[in-house]
């Protein structure tokens, strides 16, 4: 007998995860923007070849702030799954980029891999979950259909 999808609705319960990941992006950007030569470390060297240190910090803070705004709107006075999906994709791509560049950098310069590196991969995976949840809410809210009001 079909279970009527009982217990299968955890897919869309990712709001707290999205807040957590948005704050992680904000915190990461804030840390990078501190006045110390973080990007002189070998694991960040390839990242500094792509963008300068403040640019990375500002990018992370921008993504985190816009995501927090989208999530605040979504929970307070209007549901905005499309904004949440865009934020999750942007944030996920940021984690993916950081993880990839740090991995290649440590291999290229024979530096030890930081223990926290795996967090970026985990963040990326959970952003995928958040994107699927946003897709779920997009259908439930008919966000893609045009309605004359």
């Amino acid at each position: 007998m079909s279970n009527n999808n009982v217990g299968m609705t955890s897919l869309n319960k990712t709001r707290s995860t999205e807040w957590l990941l948005a704050l992680c992006a904000l915190g990461w950007g804030w840390t990078v923007l501190q006045p110390n030569a973080l990007f002189q470390e070998p694991m960040y060297r390839l990242m500094s070849a792509v963008f300068r240190e403040p640019t990375w910090g500002c990018l992370a803070i921008l993504i985190g702030t816009l995501r927090c705004l989208g999530l605040g709107i979504n929970g307070l006075w209007r549901r905005t799954p499309l904004i949440r999906m865009a934020g999750s994709i942007a944030s996920g791509l940021l984690w993916l980029t950081i993880a990839f560049l740090m991995f290649v950098s440590t291999r290229a310069f024979d530096a030890p891999m930081p223990a926290a590196w795996v967090y970026y991969v985990i963040f990326f995976v959970f952003e995928g979950w958040c994107v699927a949840a946003a897709g779920y809410d997009i259908f439930k809210n008919s966000s893609l259909s045009y309605r004359v009001v």
Binding site: L93, I138, V148, V149
Partner: protein, 135 residues
């Protein structure tokens, strides 16, 4: 830009493109999941008291024919439960559809009224202008 940076950029763009594609696929998965969901109605159950009655019906029978009849009655009761449940789901679906259609109708009507009043205003303005021109 340094050559190694250009190389890294090409790798990064490939990675980001794949990541974005995966993200869209995941969002589509979530969308499909929500689309496949049905309204939840508890599956029919006989409950403990009815189970006792059924036990009495079955145990009180003297021969196989009566026993089969009792089981047939139970099966028919279960079928009725299933039919009622399916009918309820169908009714809910129809109600939701009718409500949606009603909302669209109302919106159309509002739009039509707004258009008519704006037409009226425009005509009025034109007439006024004509009057000014002729006098």
């Amino acid at each position: 830009m340094a050559p190694e940076a250009t190389d890294i950029w090409s790798w990064l763009l490939a990675l980001l493109g794949t990541g974005s594609g995966g993200a869209i696929a995941l969002a589509f998965f979530g969308w499909l999941k929500a689309k496949a969901e049905k309204p939840y109605i508890a599956p029919p159950t006989v409950g403990p008291s009815a189970l006792g009655q059924i036990g009495g019906m079955v145990m009180g029978q003297q021969d196989l024919r009566d026993l089969i009849e009792a089981f047939r009655a139970m099966a028919a009761s279960h079928d009725r439960c299933t039919l009622a449940r399916e009918a309820e789901m169908e009714v809910r679906k129809r109600l939701a559809k009718e409500r949606r259609e009603h909302e669209v109708d109302m919106a159309d009507r509002r739009h039509e009224e707004w258009r008519q009043s704006s037409d009226l205003l425009r005509t009025l303005c034109d007439r006024l202008r004509d009057m000014k021109l002729t006098t």
